[in-house]
């Protein structure tokens, strides 16, 4: 149990083999499912007795809703509100996934490049589809901003293309690195607490502080992911 990377190991819970593709139900899948279920349960419980004047429980989902609504309005504009549900789901999924991973014996699926990378690629495809749907051929202007001479096109077009493709990559790396580092740090400090015996109270104190910090980081990273998705969506919707 001393290996701090052991917590990120994927274990197969229910082996499923679909024509030589391994689509087994793993502990990562379980964590994702539980995250979605917890979102639904929290929202259902909070909005059980919805009134016009919100009570305390009801004001939590409403604050989240307004928060994401304002985020989209500021970063994408009024036309971006059509895609509210997508951004809202993205925010809730990552925020709850990060927080879920902080519980003892749970699994942090947001610390896996495969999970977050797939989500980021999905967001990129969504952005491209939205851009093409709204601007038709005008979307190709993304790769050659106005005011740039055509002689420079062979240089600018590949640069803009790489810039577009590197966005999901940087989104993924940011979230994954933050989650992985935080959990490794917690694990190592936890090891100190056990190894030092009575003196372990000192690392335990730091551990408590770092857990609070990790809760903050979990929400902050979800927020950053959402803001950047909004900015990329805004880029797709309008020309430079």
């Amino acid at each position: 149990m001393s290996n701090p990377l052991e917590q990120f190991e994927i274990k197969t819970l229910l082996p499923i083999d679909l024509s030589h593709y391994d689509i087994s139900f793993s502990n990562s899948s379980l964590a994702m499912s539980l995250t979605v279920v917890s979102i639904i349960v929290v929202f259902a419980l909070c909005l059980r007795k919805a009134t016009l004047v919100p009570n305390l429980a009801q004001s939590v989902p409403e604050a989240l809703y307004e928060f994401v609504y304002n985020l989209i309005k500021n970063n994408v504009g009024k036309q971006g509100l059509k895609y509210f549900s997508f951004i809202f789901c993205l925010f809730l999924y990552i925020a709850f996934g990060n927080l879920f991973g902080l519980f003892p014996y749970s699994f942090t699926f947001t610390s896996h490049v495969a999970a977050v990378g797939a989500l980021s690629l999905l967001a990129l495809c969504f952005n491209i589809c939205v851009g093409v749907y709204n601007r038709k051929w005008g979307y190709l202007r993304t790769f050659l901003p106005k005011g740039i001479p055509y002689a420079l096109a062979p240089l600018v077009v590949p640069i803009e293309m790489i810039s577009l493709i590197s966005k999901p990559f940087s989104l993924t790396v940011r979230l994954v690195a933050n989650m992985t580092v935080g959990h490794i740090m917690l694990k190592i400090l936890g090891g100190f607490v056990v190894a030092l015996g009575v003196l372990g109270i000192v690392p335990l104190f730091f551990q408590a502080l770092i857990i609070i910090f990790e809760i903050f980081i979990a929400v902050l990273q979800a927020f950053i992911y959402t803001v950047l998705s909004c900015i990329y969506l805004g880029d797709a919707l309008r020309s430079h």
Binding site: V53, L56, S59, E62, A63, E66, F67, N70, L71, L155, P158, I159, E160, I162, S163, I165, S166, K167, F169, S170, V173, R174, A177, N178, L220, Q221, F223, I224, V227, L228, I231
Partner: protein
Amino acid sequence: MKKPADIEAMEEKIEAFKKKEKAKKAFVKNPSSAGSAAKGFQLSVDLVSGVFVGAAIGYFLDVVFHSTPWCLVVLTVLGGIAGILNVYKSAKAEEKES
């Protein structure tokens, strides 16, 4: 003169509600008290990711076209430029926000 009990209770309720509304507004208004460290980390990842993605695409093209190492060299350089462009863009967006 002493106020009737029910009016007093109502006033208390109104006060509590006002406090709650205020807290909610403060949260919605300023959720982006994101730390500077997070912003700095974001820019550094933006810068590096361009190089990585450029190199990856270059390597892939090399494998496809058997043109080692030309695509890798050219696309790594272009990726570096794209990374700088990314940082410039996010810095400009940041500036517009503040």
